[in-house]
Amino acid sequence: MATFKEFRNNVKPNWCPGCGDFSIQAAIQRAAANVGLEPEQLAVISGIGCSGRISGYINAYGFHGIHGRVLPIAQGVKLANRELTVIASGGDGDGFAIGMGHTVHAIRRNLNVTYIVMDNQIYGLTKGQTSPRSAEGFKTKSTPEGSIESTLSPLEIALSAGATFIAQSFSSDLKQLTRLIEEGINHEGFSLINVFSPCVTFNKINTYDWFKENIVNLEQFPDYDPSNRVQAMNKIMETNGMLTGLIYQNKTRKSYEDLVTGFKPEGLSKQNIKITPEEFEKLVAEFK
């Protein structure tokens, strides 16, 4: 059985020293090993941005797509071969700005894909512009007087869009993050894991220390029940979205793959594609 080392490759990430993305990479590698995967059973699909490079840093099948389209690509991979474990990953700009439409609909569709958002509240690779996750008043190169748009709450949106798995973590908490990714992979359906991943170069506000001071771990609430949707929404609102842990999980709703008429448990890519003369005749006869 593969260990997390087998999910490592010899590529040196081009992230800045201290970037939160390193820990997310490590957590994915550990979680993949912990759930018993072999590298060839995992496909990591990523978007564009600093975080998008992650598919090249994990020893598995990797697909680095185009900006904002990580989820449709990942869903296509899963539909084609449901036997693969599919992790989609990208930044907050990728998933909540240019790709927001896909995020909401991937949630509704509920294919068995684990979506890890590396949320640094800023655009890093383009050198510091505002993101939908930036706080109001946040000053960047594109908002020199401070952002005047409201901050997007992906957790509230996910819950109202019908998400069956919502978690949030912090890149410094490798243990919690690894566990949540494992749970996300094991969840039968779409899992959204938003991870606070500080940008040490362009975001001087939402720093490691700032997160440590401001986030609340759900473990502090022993009575918290992640199957209760109303409670989940209340908790997100009470904490202004600054909470970590498993926020919501619906274990009863079936995944998309399980609901598609005629879909077999075996990967579609492995099935015979040549139709028989009888099947062909039957199809043609309908046009007479």
């Binding site: 060839e40 990797g62 680095h64 296509g76 539909l79 040549k274 007479k288």
Partner: protein, 585 residues
């Protein structure tokens, strides 16, 4: 006795025009006639004038006709708008309810049939389409039992009582009009057909059928006119073959989902029209750069922007040939018949995998939606070629990766699917090395560009150009694409009567442009006329740019939303051959 005639039904959208047309043509197909349909409709569901025209013939036909023999009208507007098409002595069958009148200057015979009244007598005005079609069927003197059989098929699942009522409606319409006319009209007596039922379908259905035969098992698409029938057909059929259709949130999701699924090994397509194609442009570049097979169907309609969404046009050529930033290899195929729609779809999936490139299959609205008779489709011609798809590759050592983008002589690299143990590699739209890892190395960049762009050198599809060249040095070489071929051929038979010699070439491989096979025909023709449904002569520009001969290439362009008529083409060709000038239609 005549060998062909044209029948049209007009009314308000949602009034039963479609279903009347369907039953009428199904019955004709039963008798073995060749049919060619044309739908005139608007971008709304209820209300607004709509009409369907069917050309009926004892011989194969691939074009709408200039004139009309019988017009069935549910309202005066249908008469006012369409009566001018009627040939001398043509017939109008109209609902007596609106006191139909023949517009001034038109000589036609009018049969005012109490269509609505008879239908209401039978319980519902819904049945007026049965009264109307029964009346017009009877005028043709065709056997009523064949028509009743088609009615039975249409309504069978609604129960025997409904079938019976509809058959009664047909009978009343027929009896009424026969009494008025004194029997079937001799001048509309069609020669007997061969009795062989033909396949009868629209291009979109042929594409759907072709895709199943090709092994396509997933489709991701967003609804749009005139492409939606493809997804609607496939969602009914694919589950039986283990696959499905996903209706995505937009065309960007559709195309990128198709890319993901093709990457993971399932033949997957998407289909759209101009606005959707525009949204797909960035992803087409991703498929080109990552060498991921991809099939996109683009059913052209009137552009630009929302344009004329329900009308005929062929104006996306430039978008398909040049679309996406940067430079990628891409194939654009233009089927020119229903049979082509079927076989070309299969070939598109093969080419996409053999060359690991995006393939765009382009139709136009008339080809996608015009219902036509179709030759038998041959199972034995269905071949599935997956190119350099490899399995069971040797295990990798250490940090090695599979060389998914290996530099090879033909530029095409072996391809493995995710899941394969020895096949680990990276895929990215960033410039990359042989294993798929990002690389900005200048030499690697050149090698990779040359590799990708060289893949399609000397690539020709089946019938890259379709040639009908009876003359060595014709007066005219007529060039077209898509649905215009049948119209051009009808014009040519008129030209032949006037001793004007013409050859006809249909360009089926739009990109890469088939310059080499086309050159001799261009050389040998005195004049060349390129017929296309757009305003700027996009196909003519491709010919001039790739093959030259700008001095003798003329264009006949039509961009008013309607297909060419044989008379349009005939007139332009005649003018060109006489004085070297042509007028736009």
């Amino acid at each position: 006795m005549i060998s062909q005639l044209s029948w049209k039904i007009g009314g308000q959208q949602g009034e039963g025009v479609e279903s009347t047309d369907r039953i009428f043509s199904t019955a004709l197909n039963r008798l073995g006639y060749y049919l060619y349909g044309y739908r005139h409709f608007s971008s709304r569901i209820k209300g607004g004038h709509t009409n369907n025209k069917i050309r009926i013939s004892t011989k194969p036909i691939r074009a709408i006709s200039d004139d009309l023999d019988i017009l069935v009208a549910f309202d005066q507007e249908s008469i006012d708008l369409n009566a001018k098409e009627l040939r001398l002595g043509g017939v109008i069958v109209a609902d007596a309810k609106f006191n139909p009148t023949i517009p001034e200057g038109i000589e036609a015979r009018l049969f005012a049939v109490p269509i609505t009244a008879m239908a209401e007598e039978l319980g519902t005005s819904l049945m007026k389409n049965m009264v109307a079609s029964g009346a017009s069927w009877a005028l043709l003197g065709l056997p009523l039992e064949v028509f009743n059989k088609a009615v039975e098929e249409e309504f069978g699942r609604k129960g025997a009582a409904i079938v019976e009522k509809n058959i009664e409606a047909v009978k009343r319409g027929a009896e009424f009009v026969l009494e008025q006319a004194g029997g079937p009209l001799d001048e509309f007596k069609l020669d007997e057909a061969d009795g062989q039922q033909k396949l009868f379908m629209i291009g979109n259905e042929a594409i759907g059928l072709g895709s199943i035969a090709a092994g396509c098992r997933l489709m991701a698409a967003y609804p749009i006119t005139p492409a939606s029938e493809i997804m609607e057909y496939l969602i009914k059929k694919l589950p039986k073959f283990g696959g499905t259709v996903v209706q995505t949130e937009d065309e960007i999701a559709a195309v990128t989902m198709a890319i993901g699924a093709n990457y993971a090994g399932v033949r997957t397509m998407t289909a759209s029209a101009g606005p959707g194609l525009s949204l797909m442009m960035e992803a087409i570049g991703l498929a080109g750069m990552t060498e991921t097979p991809l099939v996109i169907v683009n059913t052209q309609r009137g552009g630009p922007s929302t344009g004329l969404p329900t009308k005929q046009e062929q104006s996306d050529l430039n978008a398909m040939v040049y679309g996406t930033h940067g430079e990628i290899p891409k194939i654009v195929i233009a089927p020119a018949s229903i049979e082509d729609c079927f076989y070309d779809t299969i070939e598109s999936f093969n080419l996409a995998e053999q060359y690991q490139v995006p393939v765009i299959l382009m139709t136009d609205l008339q080809l996608s939606l015009g219902k036509q008779s179709c030759e038998e489709l041959d199972y034995n011609k269905i071949e599935i070629k997956r190119g350099k798809l490899v399995e069971n590759v040797p295990a990798l050592e250490g940090h090695d990766l599979f060389k998914r983008y290996e530099l090879t002589e033909d530029g095409i690299s072996p391809r493995v699917l995710p899941g394969e143990k020895g096949g680990l590699h990276h895929v990215t739209g960033v410039e990359h090395d042989e294993t798929g890892r990002p690389s900005e190395n200048a030499l690697n960049r050149q090698n990779m560009m040359d590799k990708r762009l060289g893949k399609l050198n000397d690539m020709y599809i089946r019938d890259a150009i379709r040639v009908d060249a009876p003359f060595d040095t014709p007066e005219l070489l007529i060039i077209g694409m898509g649905s215009t071929g049948g119209t051009i051929d009808e014009a040519r038979s008129l030209l032949a009567q006037e001793q004007i010699s013409s050859n006809h070439i249909t360009i089926r491989q739009i990109h890469p442009f088939p310059t080499k096979p086309l050159l001799p025909y261009l050389q040998n023709a005195k004049k060349v006329i390129v017929i296309e449904n757009n305003a700027t002569g996009q196909l003519a520009a491709q010919i001039k740019m790739n093959a030259g001969f700008a001095d003798k290439i003329e264009s006949l362009l039509k961009y008013d939303g309607n297909p060419f008529l044989p008379s349009d083409v005939h007139k332009a060709c005649k003018e060109l051959s006489l004085d070297g000038n042509i007028q736009r239609v």
